[in-house]
């Protein structure tokens, strides 16, 4: 009987080979058949056919930063909910209360941000 | 809308010192036009726009026209003393009209739904004197059209908010819609060249070796 955890090794191997194989094929193709031809024109930034003037990394309005932070919080929250959702049926009532507290805490944060006006878009 | 001469009289009454002239239009369309002088152009324009009877608030079309030097032969009856007695003589006299550039404005009224009133502005000459007062402050619709006239004809509109080339690229120096503009000869393969295309094509033909003494193509 092979080691019960052996399927993990196979799973890992397939997971590794599956993406690497096309990359290897592409590298082989580049190496033997199609030589790359980079150039100044080809690598220039594309801006609707016109030479792009000025640089793109400029200082943005701080409002975008606030929006990004609020999104990040709720994104992380969604990750925490995933294991809860998977084991939801087998959990006692206490676990349900715990996740509710977690959710309400973040909700309260959202209400505060809303009240503070971070969400209203500055025209 | 009243007749053009009535309007002319009213304008001259309202704006003293405005030198107006009616340019008759011989064609059946009978749209005669009003020639303004540079100094009073914008005041007359404002009058045309704000006058309650006219209310020409919509400048539909601004066109540039290029009039070259013209020598006009005229038959003139001249009394001449020939061998001691008076005789009526036919003499053709040449008269040279110096060239000028022109901007023609077609004005309509959206309030009274009448028009067109054709207004003309002429430059002093076709070279460095090609300056005209801009009517964009009066009618915003003239903005792009005056830029186009500046681009293609070379009339500098003084007072225009943003006088740049609109159609050609900025490094372009000529004014291509003028009658005396020669476009660059970008070589075209002409299988059967004729008259002026032949001249252009000749510079690109490999001269044919004169075999039996027949003339070379250049001398065709």
């Amino acid at each position: 009987m092979p080691d019960p955890y052996f399927f993990l090794v196979i799973f890992g191997a397939v997971a590794f080979v599956f993406p690497v194989m096309p990359l290897a094929l592409a590298w082989l193709w580049r190496r033997f058949f199609q030589p790359p031809k980079p150039g100044a024109g080809k690598n220039a930034t594309y801006e609707c056919g016109v030479e792009s003037l000025g640089e793109a990394q400029i200082q943005f309005h701080s409002h975008y930063y606030l929006y990004a932070i609020i999104f990040l919080i709720f994104d992380v929250e969604a990750i925490f909910l995933v294991p809860f959702a998977v084991a939801f049926t087998g959990l006692p009532f206490g676990a349900f209360i715990a996740i509710l507290v977690f959710l309400l805490l973040l909700l309260e944060g959202l209400v505060w941000a809303w009240g503070k006006g971070c969400l209203s878009w500055v025209k | 809308m009243e007749a053009l001469d009535e309007i002319k009289v009213r304008i001259e009454a309202a704006i003293p010192g405005a030198r107006l002239e009616i340019i008759p239009n011989p064609g059946p369309a009978n749209q005669s036009s009003l020639l303004l002088d540079h100094a009073h152009a914008s005041t007359v324009a404002r009058f045309l726009r704000d006058d309650p009877a006219l209310r020409l608030d919509y400048c539909s079309n601004v066109t540039g026209v290029d009039w070259l030097e013209r020598t006009v032969k005229k038959k003139v009856k001249v009394k001449k003393v020939v061998e001691g007695e008076e005789k009526e003589l036919e003499e053709t006299r040449e008269e040279i009209f110096s060239g000028y550039l022109e901007a023609v404005y077609h004005l309509y009224s959206m309030a009274h739904k009448h028009g067109p009133l054709v207004v003309r502005l002429r430059t002093r000459d076709r070279a460095e004197g090609a300056h005209l007062p801009s009517l964009t402050p009066v009618w915003r619709s003239a903005e792009f059209q005056e830029r186009e006239i500046y681009d293609l004809y070379g009339i500098h509109f003084d007072g225009h908010p943003d006088l740049r080339r609109i159609l050609m690229w900025d490094e372009f120096t000529d004014h291509p819609m003028r009658k005396d503009y020669r476009e660059p000869d970008d070589y075209e393969y002409e299988p059967t060249p004729h008259d002026d295309v032949l001249e252009k094509a000749k510079q690109h033909y490999v001269p044919r070796p004169a075999q039996d003494g027949t003339a070379n193509i250049a001398a065709q």
Binding site: E47, G54 | P26, P28, A29, Q31, S141, L167, M168
Partner: protein, 388 residues
């Protein structure tokens, strides 16, 4: 922490001379000649602060094909096929505009049947243009491709009519000075009637989908507002002007081409925003269908060409004339100066699309980048006419 601190938060004034720490710099970007929704090679240099437009300079000339210079070097008849390529979606109304101006220049009469044919074909072109606009505007707004497919299905039906009549789908070159080139082929009128009767089905489908759609309302209402005074002063014509509430339709004002004989209404808007401009086109489509039915019902028999007009060696008398028609995009005018020879001395086209773009910057300031596309789409430009 009470909510009142919000006022202080945004009132943090930077020390004088120092850029206020909160707002960002302007990003210069060019929505350039090759852009999915600029309806051709039209470029806008936009200065963006974050997503909000602070400055917008249109750049033209990428399709400047020297239509007027070529017009001066060819005969009057020779310029007729070039007018198809001015506004290459509505070739029939361009022909009519040019033919009308030359008839005014030379004082030519047009027989009644030819005038009716011109009205029918110009209104069919209006159907094509407004249907295409609905398709393009909705794909600018994000409904990529699907409404365009429906709009082009209707367009194909009408192009079949044009092709059987004039021989070409898009470039009809059908009208001549003093009438039309050829009479209707047999069975054309029945097919035309079938297309016109089938059109309301397409229109109802569209109205059902877009009129009450709250995404569309959110994207177009209060966007790109244009006041009536600015519209008049900037020479905006066509549906864009009527959306701002100015009742100026050349078919009623000039009364050319027997339009006074047909009963039709001119829709007017109040706010002058993108939603009104969109609805102008939808309502005008309904009126156009009404005109088409009336014109088709009492199309008289008779000659389609004024026999006295010479086609080939056509030399109008010396003089000038400015003729204009209500093209689907606005007032299309032709200003011709004739010096008696076979070629016009000056051949000028008054492009509705170019002049409708005069106030593009005024409409776009303060809006986001996505709204610029909706505003440009609602103005409805075609580059062949803008750059000539």
């Amino acid at each position: 922490m009470s909510l009142s601190t919000r006022a202080q938060h945004s009132a943090v004034e930077a020390p004088p001379g120092m850029p206020s720490r909160l707002d960002g710099e302007l990003l210069e970007v060019s929505m350039g000649p090759q852009h999915p929704s600029t309806h051709g090679v039209f470029r806008m240099n936009v200065a963006l602060e974050g997503e909000v437009v602070r400055r917008l300079k249109p750049v033209f000339g990428y399709l400047h094909r020297n239509h007027e210079k070529i017009g001066e070097n060819t005969s009057y008849l020779g310029s007729m096929p070039y007018t198809d390529r001015l506004d290459y979606i509505c070739s029939m109304s361009n022909n009519w505009g040019y033919a009308l101006s030359v008839e005014k220049l030379a004082g030519i009469e047009v027989p009644e049947r030819a005038e009716y044919l011109r009205v029918i074909l110009a209104e069919l072109t209006r159907l094509v243009n407004h249907a295409s606009l609905l398709g393009f505007l909705l794909s600018d707004m994000g409904a990529w491709g699907t409404p365009l497919m429906y709009a082009f299905r209707e367009r194909e039906n009408i192009l079949d009519l044009f092709e059987s009549l004039s021989g070409s789908r898009m470039m009809c070159d059908y009208m001549r000075f003093g009438g039309c080139r050829c009479d209707l082929p047999p069975g054309w009128m029945e097919r035309a009637r079938k297309v016109v009767d089938g059109f309301p089905h397409f229109l109802d489908e569209f109205e059902q989908l877009i009129t009450g759609n709250e995404i569309l309302i959110a994207r177009t209402q209060e966007v790109g507002k244009l006041s009536a005074e600015l519209a008049i002063s900037a020479g905006i014509t066509g549906p864009g002007l009527r959306a701002s509430g100015v009742n100026y339709d050349l078919r009623k004002v000039d009364g050319y081409g027997f339009y006074p004989r047909f009963k039709f209404r001119v829709p007017l808007g109040e706010h002058g925003d993108c939603y009104d401009r969109l609805m102008m086109r939808v309502l005008e489509l309904r009126e156009t269908l009404g005109i088409l039915r009336q014109a088709m019902d009492d199309l008289p028999a008779g000659p389609i060409m004024n026999p006295k007009v010479k086609i080939r060696a056509f030399k109008p008398p010396v003089g000038e004339a400015y003729g204009r028609i209500e093209a689907p995009k606005g007032e299309l005018g032709f200003y011709l100066i004739s010096d008696g020879s076979g070629n016009p001395y000056r051949y000028r086209v008054r492009p509705p699309s170019l002049i409708n773009l005069t106030v593009l910057e005024d409409m776009c300031l303060g809006h986001t980048v996505a709204d610029v596309m909706v505003i440009l789409g609602s103005i409805d430009i075609v580059m062949g006419e803008v750059d000539r």
